[in-house]
Symmetry: C2
Subunit: 251 residues, 2 copies
């Protein structure tokens, strides 16, 4: 039952963080879910309503001492529906700190394995990266999802991200690509259509029927520290994430 999902894209601003928070919430209706913030920006932590500047145990401490992983985990989502392993700006130091370690790409995996038995699904946010952060997230994961913003630069980034996944499979053969999901989809913009057509032609069934539309409620929800499914359950954004959870995971 256990899936560890890495949400990755080399391109910045494609909707990775919003994807993690909202998919985690929808999946948590039927599963025990842990969302992991592996980005020094700590946007997922902020989006879940925590102040990233407050001193607390975060993923950064857990990387240094896996025994502190449980201590760092907080409950979030409506009525604590899913758990969060929060981040902090200090995480930016991790790349240099662990650069010389033989197992530098396994650090996150070691953390995640500490608590894996307590969850059905773990879903991990990452910064736009081709190095340490991306290697760690993909090494810890059993599957990857690439959010694809319907824009040319983001479409071009998919290739680099696919190469990265192939590379990490050398050390983590169980890793598969689960889906390439169209995000920030704006039906009124013809460019959206041409990116969608190019993506479906190139990647076929890897691109789910469900797309994530541009919907301001998603942004307002993150400002309110809530998933969009809590903030505006009838919004197009919330419905899309519900449909996506059903289409990809039968949730």
């Amino acid at each position: 039952l256990m899936s560890i999902i890495a949400i990755v894209s080399h391109k910045g601003g494609t909707g990775k963080t919003s994807f993690v928070q909202n998919l985690a919430y929808e999946l948590s209706a039927t599963r025990r879910v842990l969302a992991v913030d592996f980005d020094p920006q700590a946007n997922l932590t902020l989006g879940c309503g925590l102040d990233p500047a407050v001193e607390r145990t975060t993923i950064y401490q857990a990387l240094h001492d896996v025994g502190r992983t449980k201590e760092a985990i907080v409950t979030t989502g409506e009525n604590g529906r899913f758990h969060l392993l929060p981040s902090h700006l200090d995480l930016a130091l991790a790349e240099q700190t662990f650069a010389a370690h033989y197992d530098r790409n396994d650090k996150l995996k070691d953390v995640v394995q500490q608590v894996a038995a307590n969850y059905d699904t773990i879903i991990i946010d990452s910064p736009p990266s081709l190095g340490f952060f991306a290697f760690n997230v993909l090494t810890a994961a059993t599957e990857a999802i690439i959010p694809l913003q319907c824009q040319p630069y983001a479409f071009q980034a998919v290739d680099n991200t696919l190469k990265l996944i192939e590379l990490v499979r050398k050390g983590n053969p169980t890793l598969t690509l689960k889906a390439i999901v169209l995000t920030l989809y704006d039906r009124r913009v013809t460019l959206t259509q041409s990116v969608e057509n190019a993506a479906r032609e190139r990647f076929g069934n890897l691109v789910p029927q469900t797309v994530i539309p541009t919907n301001i409620a998603v942004v307002e929800a993150s400002l309110d520290g809530q998933p969009v499914g809590v903030y505006a359950p009838q919004s197009t954004g919330a419905k899309a994430y519900r449909n996506l959870a059903a289409e990809l995971y039968g949730a």
Copy 2:
């Protein structure tokens, strides 16, 4: 007359690459301009009409041997109006390659200084980063501009980016913050207004009157390998960049 402008933001997708291409083009009406692509994604290279996958001399070779900088430079923009130092995915290797070098944060500066005498303005694109890439770009620069997408996560990233600029000033005291420019500005969205108000209240005159609106012509232009000033000179995007060049640089 010489200004070396670093376009930086820790947040992904805030419009850094589009900003570099379009401001470079507008400034090139009255100055000799070099745009530098210091992002392994090579989006600026792609946006200027070059295929990033084609083998050529790029910034990556120049970092290893500054003598190859001139060889890497190509002309771009309408009638070769500004020059480009292109990038390649290999640049992603630079962080590890130079990690142990004493002068690892000066690599880009050494490259830029090779050709600085030939230009009035050099403007540098960077990936969303808090490490090697950001240190190099800010060390090479005389001033920084932060594009601020009118969204909560991007607003929150400004603080981290300001701290980064303060840090690098220890090694590069001439570095100043030139402006925090509102980008992807959509007047119809109330959230845009609240981010604008928060930015103007917090940063005052650092926020120019000119904002860069969300304008699909900017995206279509990049797909066409052109600055928006060439692709659609009367578009709101092109006019905004022209106004910004005048407001910030009297161009």
